[in-house]
């Protein structure tokens, strides 16, 4: 299986400038590409696939420079946003397509085998417009895999899937990684999925990499509010929000700890009745599998907390006062600088 490197890749799309982007992905590895809307995630995939000419840099497959290679020669499995199913072909004809192009005589049997594996056999003669969102996703995946790709590019998979179907397709991903050893680059907005499959994260911001490295690094030092929220930090404050805080308040304390893009921390656990340095007024309290999730208003800041008391005890009431602590080591400074996690895998 192949090893791919992206070296200083830059591309332009109308006025949008992407890059330079560096990343590498080896057999069975997954790189998750994150970023807010318009950050350049899809543009990166299109540049990688060869649909956008590289303004600078290159894509290398097993030491071979792919500059000037047409998309069809790059050996890709491609699942774009919207899935790219061919509306005029049946499910089976969609899945068969990549092998049909190569004139393979086993295209039909291999496609039917793949349909069987994905539980799509009963739908073989239907058209994409007659399928549910989850079924359509499965067809797109089956087709991408039947192309026997050297690299799979996924643009927001799982978008239309319910929880059960996601779990089921997670298995397909494991197979890609562990058995077929196919490398993948996945654009996603789904933190649960990204943290469960990705070996490395690339965070794009305005077309430029904000972070590239291991998931641990993203948890340790998120670069900006988007990344922090993606990584699961529920308390994220921009410098402007902290600027209004009164001296001696939680906001003023966070302002001192914060970086140019602000500050973030996960829900602190609170005992009831709480003791702690800060105080807030309860705005909401709702049960979750991890305990009761509470939001309080502490001055101008809304803070998310988690009640650590055993389940079944009384929930705090809205308007009640609650004391809590935020550990300094739990607070992340959002530096905003583009950079690469030093400890990333090679």
């Amino acid at each position: 299986m192949s090893r791919w490197s992206v070296e200083g890749l830059a591309a332009s799309l109308e006025r949008f400038e992407l890059g330079p982007v560096d990343l590498d992905v080896g057999p069975g590895e997954v790189v998750a590409v994150l970023g807010s809307s318009g950050a350049g995630k899809t543009t990166l995939l299109r540049a990688l696939a060869g649909f956008l000419p590289a303004r600078a840099g290159r894509v290398v497959r097993d030491g071979v420079d792919l500059r000037g290679w047409a998309p069809e020669r790059r050996g890709l499995g491609y699942v774009p946003q919207g899935l790219g199913l061919f509306p005029h072909r049946t499910v089976e004809a969609n899945v068969r397509y990549p092998l049909e192009l190569r004139g393979r005589l086993d295209a039909g049997p291999r496609a039917r085998e793949m349909l069987e594996r994905f539980g799509l056999s009963p739908l073989a003669r239907r058209y994409p417009a007659q399928l549910s969102g989850g079924e359509r996703e499965r067809v797109a995946l089956a087709r991408a895999l039947l192309a026997e790709p050297e690299l799979v590019l996924w643009d927001e998979p799982w978008q239309a899937l319910d929880v059960g179907a996601r779990h089921e397709l997670g298995g397909v991903f494991d197979e890609l990684r562990e058995r077929a050893r196919v490398p993948s680059i996945v654009v996603t907005h789904d933190p649960g999925f990204a943290f469960s499959v990705a070996d490395r994260f690339l965070v794009l911001k305005g077309g430029r990499p904000g972070y590239y490295g291991a998931p641990e690094g993203l948890l340790r030092s998120p670069v900006d509010a988007f990344t922090a929220r993606f990584a699961g930090f529920e308390n994220v404050y921009a410098p402007e929000a902290l600027g209004r805080a009164a001296p001696g308040s939680l906001g003023a304390w966070l302002r001192e700890l914060g970086g140019p893009e602000g500050v973030a921390f996960a829900r602190p656990a609170v005992a009831v009745p709480g003791t702690g340095r800060w105080e807030g007024v309860v705005r909401s309290a709702r049960p979750t599998p991890e305990g009761t999730a509470v939001t309080v208003l502490a001055g101008p800041l809304t803070v998310a907390l988690r009640l650590a008391e055993p389940a079944g005890s009384a929930r705090p009431q809205v308007g009640e006062r609650l004391r809590f602590d935020v550990e300094e080591r739990a607070v992340r400074r959002l530096a905003g600088a583009a950079g690469t996690e030093p400890g990333r895998a090679a």
């Binding site: 696939a49 998309p71 890709l76 790219g84 061919f86 005029h88 990549p98 190569r102 192309a147």
Partner: protein
Amino acid sequence: MSRAGESAAGPHGPRRGPPWVVLQAVLGGSLLALFLLPLYALFTYAPPGAIGAAAHQPAVQAAIYLTLLASGIAVLTAVVLAIPLGYLLARRRFPGRSVVEAVVALPVAVPHLLVGLGLFFLLVPGTPLYRLTTAVGLPVYDTIWGVVLVMVFVSAPYTVLAADLSFRAVDPRVVETARALGAGPATAFLTVSLPVAARGIVAGLLLTWARAVSEIGGILILAYTVYPAGPYNGPVTNTLSVLVYDLFQAGDLKEAAAVSCVFLLIAFGLFLAVRLGERSGWLPWGRGELVP
């Protein structure tokens, strides 16, 4: 306020549908009546049995043959020339694209006698194009090629416009997926873009055919009479439209009505066959579309 899909039994008892649906039916029905009433008049004016008799006349049969052959060639020409132009307009940016779009729409707007005059001056004996068309064996004056030329001029824009709109409606990501999965640009065009756009393009080709068979103005000037055996050689014939015009000019209104009815039945039969073929899935384009 009523909504679509609401129960037929409203608070005021059963009714046929929400008022706006009734309004649509009335307005649409008025237009259909405008289409159908003149045709009804034609069919009632032709004496019973005259339509069948007209269809069996050698002159009418020769006119039908000429008209179908010339319009068929015009449609094939549109397939070869107009679909690529529609694709270019839909998918490529180039300087002067708006000018090209305006030029494409022009033949639809120009009075067709002027089209005939323009072609007449362009191909008048002595001009380079006259010499070229004669040299390659496609002389246009009073030949089927003159009929085809006029038909292509007035009708091909419908295919260009339909192809342009249909290719624009093809999701580029679908085409890119085909490319990434191994299809070269031409293969992706033939296996994805064209089939996905086919239904709209076929609708444009039908309009092209309809416009071609109904053309008269330009044909009157360039090929009023057509010598099937070659220029000014042997018996002559006319297109159906010219034949009806001739009969009308000669005051033979019943015969004109009967030949018109033959013409209408052919056109209606073709349109209906295509629609039924599409609906049943027998014709390949449009497969996979959700038809309510």
